[in-house]
């Protein structure tokens, strides 16, 4: 990854910064339906995308939005949609379809909390597919992830998702918007441009991949085997994670997204006080960075999972932690009374208290 000269520091709301990053990445089509806290991204792109020569449609439903994006993407354009929770649920059929007919597009899931980990990483669509999902911890990282997701989407011809939350969408922070270059991409020799009609070489974007009568395609059996193999390969090469203080840690705290930023802060405090605590953060929720987690928890006697839900990521942690018997859940469901954001559990003193409570009595290490 390389970048040009460092741009100016600008105060910007997270959703707007994500929108600007999408435009920097070459996104030229966006369709969305208002839903908090995703709404500010739609509002920003409704103004900024046409100004950048693109199209933004305030569509009639999330189902229409995602299918509009799929259609736009089938022409080779960089296209995206977004929503949260129930809206993402409505989009699942088309996200699966895009995975199976190999149409790249980006889905911005600016969720209300962390209760949609399963929705993001398992999906509710049909067939053998997975969704590459990045969970930035803050707005600067979301700017990078937004651009990376368009790149990965084109590279693998698969839909990708950014899983954020109200803190990411609504926080105003100083950001530097710069166009990032993640390297070369294969030509879009599959894009529909309409120019090959009548030549015998016309193109199809088709989940069944049966091809033309005169030029048969692989058909669903072989095509879907190939899709499954592609996601198996992505699982191997696209894992991303971050960790600190794990080499000698007795206790490793695992968290993702905004929650991981709080954990990072608390662990730094505890380290300064002499506790042998480390943290591990999956950056890609799928593919889950399993081998990295296993390595990070090699010396740990306790693996604490902090997530703001009833226990979802912990399923992935159980698959990979070095010692499964060391895993303890210290998160929980915690929702603001509006239903639109986090409750009191997302707070550094609370996290500190829960980590300390998990340590053995009289043994602060």
């Amino acid at each position: 990854m390389t970048a040009a000269a460092t741009p100016e520091l600008t105060l910007m709301e997270g959703a707007a910064a994500i929108g600007e990053a999408a435009i920097l990445a070459g996104c030229r089509f966006f369709a969305g339906y208002p839903m908090s806290p995703f709404t500010p991204l739609l509002e920003h792109l409704a103004e900024a995308l046409p100004a950048a020569g693109g199209t933004c449609i305030n569509c009639e439903s999330e189902i229409e939005g995602v299918n509009m994006a799929l259609g736009a993407a089938s022409t080779g354009a960089r296209a995206a949609t977004g929503s949260c929770g129930q809206g993402i649920a409505l989009m699942q059929e088309a996200i699966a379809e895009a995975a199976l007919n190999e149409t790249p597009m980006v889905v911005f899931n600016l969720a209300r909390n962390q209760q949609d980990y399963f929705q993001a990483t398992r999906g509710g669509g049909w067939g053998d597919y997975r969704t590459i999902t990045l969970a930035p911890k803050d707005v600067p990282e979301a700017i990078e992830h937004t651009q990376l997701l368009f790149h990965l989407s084109d590279l693998h011809r698969a839909p990708t998702m950014l899983y954020g939350d109200p803190l990411l969408a609504q926080t105003r922070v100083g950001v530097r918007l710069e166009k990032l270059d993640f390297g070369p991409l294969p030509p879009k020799d599959w894009e529909l441009d309409g120019t090959r009609g009548g030549t015998g070489q016309s193109r199809q974007v088709w989940t069944w991949a049966m091809g033309k009568a005169t030029d048969p395609g692989p058909g669903p059996d072989l095509h879907w085997q190939n899709i499954a193999a592609k996601f198996a390969a992505i699982n191997e090469i696209e894992q991303r994670s971050e960790s600190a203080h794990c080499e000698d840690a007795d206790t490793v705290v695992v968290a993702f997204g905004s929650a991981a930023l709080f954990v990072e802060h608390v662990v730094a405090e505890l380290r300064a006080e002499g506790h042998r605590v480390g943290w591990f953060r999956p950056i890609t929720l799928w593919p889950f960075p399993g081998p990295a987690l296993e390595e990070a928890t090699r010396s740990a006697r306790r693996v604490l999972v902090y997530e703001l839900n009833g226990g979802q990521m912990i399923d992935d942690v159980r698959q990979y932690a070095h010692d499964r018997s060391a895993i303890r859940f210290i998160g929980g469901v915690s929702i603001h009374e509006s239903g639109l954001s986090y409750g009191p559990l997302l707070d550094a003193p609370v996290i500190r208290e829960r980590i300390l409570a998990a340590l053995p009595e009289g043994d602060p290490r």
């Binding site: 439903s61 229409e64 299918n67 509009m68 259609g71 309409g194 030549t199 193109r203």
Partner: protein, 269 residues
Amino acid sequence: MTTESTIERGPVVPTGTAPLGLTPVASTSPLLLGEHSLCPGCGEPVALRILLETLQELGIVQRTIGVVGHGCYGSFVRIMDIDVLQCLHGRAPSCATGIKRMRPDVATFTLQGDGDMVNEGLQEVLHTAARGENVTAILLNNGVFGDTGGQQTATTVVGQRTKTSLEGRDAAVHGHPIPVADLVASLDGVGYVGRGTVGTAGGVLRTKKMIRTAFESQLAGEGFSLVEILTMCPTGWFVTAPQGPDYMASSMEEVYPLGDLRPRTKGTT
């Protein structure tokens, strides 16, 4: 971009060929890559032929993208020599919207059945029409789910027997059919709406003119256009193939009157 001169075509009967003194009603479009696999007496292949002939005659074969929904006609994806997105059930107008916005110089059409457009995709077609998207929707209406073996759709006429209305559609029990083309014709943002039939030779010719009008409206940037085509489905209607056209005329055409439902007015002189 490939030029017309490089097109290789198989042996075909050119459009316009007919016995001396007669008007041609049947041909094989050079855009057909193979034979269809649908039932004897089905109207959908006839509709496909006049659609492809129209693209050829308008000279837009090499700037056209089709979006095909789910139904028996879905198998046409294999035999149409046109760029095609095969999309989810009911979503073709939304996909066509994305395509057209990114490639405004391309003629974009959807190919949908009544189950696809009026059951699963009613929202999509109405909103796409109301937005005035510059795309052409082709509705193949046979009043039945043919692909799954003859169940009731939203356009099944009252009294029609289907596998899910064995004694005939009863309005008190099953509700009323939805005349989607009439709904679309009532919306601002629409350039042209017509309803034709492939049940008679004259109907085929008149329907082909409607398809041409719809594409001309799109190419002139007049907004959404729709051609509803009544198509025979003898298998789904439980009648013999030769009975199909008469059955269709006596049952569907009363509920779905033929003609221009919204004539082209913008941009025509």
